[in-house]
Symmetry: C2
Subunit: 232 residues, 2 copies
Amino acid sequence: MKEKAVILLSGGIDSATAAAIAISRGFDPCAMTFSYGQKHGVELLRARALAGFFGIREHLVIEIPAHIFRSALTTGSLEVPKNRPVDDVDEIPDTYVPARNILFLSYALALAESIGARRIFIGATAVDYSGYPDCRPEFFHAFKEMADRGTRAGVSGNGIIIETPLISMTKAEIIRTGHRLGVDYSLTHSCYDPGPDGSACGSCDSCRIRRKGFRDAGIPDPTRYCGEDGNQ
Amino acid sequence: MKEKAVILLSGGIDSATAAAIAISRGFDPCAMTFSYGQKHGVELLRARALAGFFGIREHLVIEIPAHIFRSALTTGSLEVPKNRPVDDVDEIPDTYVPARNILFLSYALALAESIGARRIFIGATAVDYSGYPDCRPEFFHAFKEMADRGTRAGVSGNGIIIETPLISMTKAEIIRTGHRLGVDYSLTHSCYDPGPDGSACGSCDSCRIRRKGFRDAGIPDPTRYCGEDGNQ
């Protein structure tokens, strides 16, 4: 029988690639997706589509009330920044969502311990990213320490392992890895501020990192950007 | 203007006392309560009543789906243990809820950072308790470390402070403290396995710790236990 693993699946490139890696390593995936009032709620549909693509049978979609967060990704009065220098990781942008990965990992931890899974996969990367503190290796190490002290599994010496297979990869490396594993990136969504038809804005951090990633990887970007045709 | 603080309010003795302490210290309280499919869902009504008693204007009740947890407190097929030796803290009982305080604190952290609160109050105690790992000082220290690495407030040097004013108190000391601060403990609920009318079973860990606490404190227990009249 395959070993179960909890996979955080957002609907973006990174979590899709992390899922493909977990599956290629032989784990039986249980996916978790979070609806937290994100303006790019279209990613929830992509997460569903990806779960189907990967043949994941257990897929939990968890609701977190948007009003606990103040963030440009959830708060109507805060605008998603556009054309920001994405290599400025010293400044944490307004798209930062307070304690988001802490909450996501906490849910995954509760589920993992409850179903007897030993591993949680999260597609975080600290290379081509927006400088969010909860995407960096030191955060994941601290989370693991905390989980080892605060859970039954942890204190019994069988603490949950947080797998961050993408943490040191560039976006191009992530895309090449997923491409090799057969991920259909046309199912993924990255834009923080999509149009009503789900089209990508092309100028938020997430779109810019995505576009550059495909370009650097030498792989066509299947995304439809606002006012453009498909391939970049 | 008073400084805001997030208070985790379950409806039990400990969180009610922690709330009274926070208020007596001059904080403007924002309370959070969690509905997670607990068999003792009656505590949610008590949390509402306590919020009213304390005059707390902001009180968020957050839903966490019960099916992510396997625990005697949430899972129908697992019975709440009765008449267990409650001083056996080497064994973690089946009432342990995986990652519960981790999730509760993560929510509180997201809210605190979003509303600009610097402190979270949690009524955990590691003296008269059921041996849950997420109630011990080493867990709270590790949570704080993790939060300092994973939040914008933390990396900017203004990390959230986790206040655990009861952590080293016996149950009797907690009750005496609350009594002195005017807490109406008749509004609180402790039993893990209440009858359909909300009456306390008297024999689960939580009832037994509560009863002993009032007895040791020399203060009448206002609880109606199953098959008994009010005061013990």
